[in-house]
């Protein structure tokens, strides 16, 4: 069975370096969640000063 074009690209990429697109998206989502909640709590603190 022949590999699809995309699969071939992934195979070529993993030979040199791993594909980290999904990991990158997950890290950005987690980072965004942390930043938003941190600033939300900080703004709540300032509004009650």
């Amino acid at each position: 069975m022949e590999m699809k074009e995309k699969d071939q690209a992934v195979a070529a990429a993993t030979d040199e370096q791993p594909v980290l697109k999904g990991t990158f998206a997950a890290v950005l989502l987690l980072g965004g969640f942390l930043a938003v909640t941190w600033f939300a709590v900080f703004l709540l603190f300032l509004s009650r000063q």
Partner: protein, 156 residues
């Protein structure tokens, strides 16, 4: 050492977030003077609260143009003085100690929330800009009637 391009991006974001959070904390602490209520390390004998100034006469006294000092004691199950009237827009420096066990001192809707430890004097300041009745309540379990431990201050 080889680092993946995407890894470099998220490491940069993570490290910058850390510096922003620490920066905000540092500016609040050193430039805006935010500090924990126990910062003053002012100690007294909890058995002699009644005889120790200023807690022998709890109440509100003017210390400046629009600043007041509210000297209060916490006990099972209440606060002294019982009720206080505060002028609108005044900054109140609360100076609180306990004469028996650990109590809480929280005013819902404000940033005032501190632990009152026997033998220690806790400080917190707040500017009251909205008129109304404010509830002071105990949020540290202190005994059988803990849930009734409260007092009110009136801002007008």
């Amino acid at each position: 050492m080889h680092i993946h391009k995407l890894e470099k991006i998220w490491l940069t974001i993570g490290i910058s977030m850390l510096f922003v959070f620490l920066g905000v904390l540092g500016v609040s602490a050193f430039a805006m003077g935010l500090q924990p209520p126990s910062e003053h390390h002012h100690m007294l004998d909890p058995a002699k609260v009644y005889e120790t100034a200023p807690f022998d006469k709890p109440g509100l006294r003017q210390t400046g143009d629009n600043t007041y000092e509210a000297v209060m004691t916490a006990f099972t199950f209440g606060y002294a003085p019982d009720k206080m009237e505060i002028p609108l827009g005044a900054t109140i420096d609360f100076v609180v100690t306990s004469q028996d066990v650990v109590h809480g001192f929280e005013i819902p809707g404000t940033n005032i929330n501190m632990m009152i430890v026997p033998g220690e004097v806790s400080h917190v300041s707040h500017k009251f800009t909205k008129p109304g009745e404010y509830l002071i309540l105990c949020n540290e379990y202190c005994g059988g009637a803990h849930e009734f431990m409260k007092t009110t201050i009136i801002v007008k």
